[in-house]
């Protein structure tokens, strides 16, 4: 028989099987490799698997493992751990009845956290295609990233090969998969490039499915990422996460939901923006002509608070099946506060919301920007207690935000801005159909809600929100 055996000194099951192997080797031969020692192993002559290369190549997950090879040197079978009947059959030997019948093996040293990525970086796995940038001995790695133009202004995490391999372990996608074409330079973006930028952003590997889905969504034609980047307007991509993954990766949907403090919230949106910057070439004062920008252009991402809500989530409204996770991309400005600490009935609070929403872009502009209304738990309670669904609120807002044209036309109110005069006698909705999204998020205390206004070009003219399932 042509056999290869993997053991570990520190594994009790390996110690148990050592006498069985020793007896077997009196008649047969086998190559025995020990992951953590080169010394004699309880009567067995072993060689150490230096650098765990052979363990990596043989994809060892458990010790002891015995692999049998056919006459062509191809693996034909393997067993793991200790099962006396299995061993007797595999090795064609008799096992003393006094021996324990079964004992599970121990984890292979190749799977120790941190070791796997080092081995992947060292011995391959999927080939890394990105160019290696040598950083000089005297050069600080973080400054090296700045000087090469990879940063958005904040320090980035230097993308070493190990860090990128670790990031790639967060997705089952092949690193060479092309996710889409990134503007403005219209270049293909691979999962590998996303992983490198996710490292720069400070993401954890478990965020990768969300980051990949966000990039895919942003590159859909209806999102109009190219136009959004190149405009003189304020906006950048906002990522709203729904579904179980938000909790799994520790996202924030509560207090400070639109602010700082949560790693997933802060880095997922940043990874997307860094892809646009570094892969796509979209940099401020170059193709990015935004007059002001917005703090969210560093990165803007949050999770909707679905747990305590009686309202249908954004994802369900947009056709995602219950139980699935998704991202919704929106071309967003900054955050506008709505203060209402007195309204206790839904009609009054709706009017407060409408008053705030009317000013999106300009009070006299309509059918230009989309908007997101982020309703806090305290405000949502007002509607819940009155039995209003989210649809009820949407319908009331639509009524309240259908405005007489004579208020909106150029010159009305002494303001030159406005709609063309031909709209004077019409009733105009502030938002296009589907242009107002409502989500629930925020801290449990605070009778405020928030408006996140959208780019001044929406729908077919510009950007429409895009929802993408996370796989």
């Amino acid at each position: 028989m042509n056999l290869l055996v993997f053991l570990k000194q520190s594994c009790e099951t390996c110690k148990l099987v050592a006498p069985v192997l020793k007896n077997f080797l009196e008649e047969e031969s086998a190559e025995i490799l020990c992951q953590d020692s080169s010394s004699f192993f309880h009567g067995l002559a072993v060689r150490q698997d230096i650098g765990l290369r052979r363990s990596w190549e043989s994809k060892i997950e458990t010790v002891p493992t015995i692999i049998r090879f056919d006459k062509d040197g191809k693996e034909s079978a393997r067993i793991e751990g200790w099962d006396s009947e299995e061993w007797a059959d595999f090795l064609q030997i008799e096992i003393p009845e006094t021996m324990l019948r079964y004992k599970p093996g121990c984890g292979s040293d190749t799977l120790v956290p941190g070791t796997y990525e080092k081995l992947a970086a060292k011995y391959g796995g999927e080939e890394i295609k990105s160019r290696r940038i040598l950083v000089g001995e005297q050069e600080d790695e973080i400054e090296a990233c700045y000087s090469r133009g990879w940063s958005d202004g904040l320090p980035v995490v230097p993308p070493t090969r190990e860090r990128v391999m670790r990031m790639l372990s967060g997705t089952s996608r092949c690193s060479h998969d092309i996710v889409g074409v990134v503007p403005p330079n219209l270049v293909e973006c691979s999962v590998e490039k996303i992983a490198i930028n996710a490292v720069l952003a400070g993401c954890l590997p478990q965020y990768m499915p969300v980051v990949i889905a966000s990039v895919e969504a942003a590159l859909q034609d209806e999102f109009c990422m190219h136009g959004l980047l190149a405009t003189t307007y304020f906006s950048g991509p906002l990522v709203i996460v729904n579904g179980p993954i938000a909790r799994e990766i520790g996202m924030n949907s509560g207090g400070n939901v639109l602010g700082q403090g949560n790693r997933a919230n802060s880095t997922i949106g940043r990874a997307l923006q860094l892809v646009i910057r570094n892969v796509g070439g979209g940099k401020p004062q170059e193709v990015d002509r935004s007059a002001f920008g917005t703090p969210g252009k560093i990165g803007f991402c949050f999770a909707e608070d679905e747990a305590g809500s009686c309202w249908q989530s954004l994802a369900l409204e947009r056709g995602i099946e219950p139980g699935c996770s998704s991202v919704t991309l929106f071309a967003a400005d900054g955050v506008q506060a709505i203060v209402d600490q007195k309204s206790r009935d839904p009609e009054s609070l709706s009017r407060t919301f409408a008053a705030g929403l009317k000013s999106v872009g300009h009070p006299k502009l309509a059918l230009a920007s989309d908007a997101i209304l982020v309703v806090s738990p305290e405000h949502e309670r007002v509607f819940r207690l009155a039995g209003w669904t989210k649809d009820d609120l949407k319908k009331r807002l639509k009524d309240l935000l259908t405005i007489s044209g004579d208020e909106l036309v150029e010159g009305a109110g002494g303001i030159s801005e406005g709609l063309p005069v031909r709209f004077k006698s019409k009733k105009i909705p502030k938002f296009r159909e589907g242009g107002l999204l409502i989500v629930r998020a925020g801290g449990k205390a605070g009778m405020f809600s928030a408006i996140i206004a959208g780019w001044g070009a929406s729908g077919k003219v510009g950007s429409a929100p895009v929802t993408r399932k996370i796989t």
């Binding site: 403005p184 070439g281 004062q285």
Partner: protein, 70 residues
């Protein structure tokens, strides 16, 4: 760039605020198109002002497509 590759020479007219963006794209795409930058702003000008702008820059615009001085 696409039309140029199809045998249609041309160029674009933009306001001066777009000079940097145009330069950046030219570097990254490896293609430096013919272009004319006119004075910014554009949006708040009257129709008459836009017409005068077109007159002022007409010969430059002509040079986007023609090498003749006529």
């Amino acid at each position: 760039m696409d039309l140029d590759s199809r045998g249609v020479p041309g160029g674009f007219v933009a306001s001066s605020e777009f000079a940097e963006a145009a330069k950046a794209q030219a570097v990254s795409l490896g293609f430096d198109p013919f272009r004319v930058f006119v004075e910014h702003p554009i949006q708040d000008r009257s129709d008459q002002e836009i017409i005068r702008l077109a007159d002022r820059y007409f010969l430059d615009v002509l040079a986007l497509i023609s090498s003749s001085n006529d």
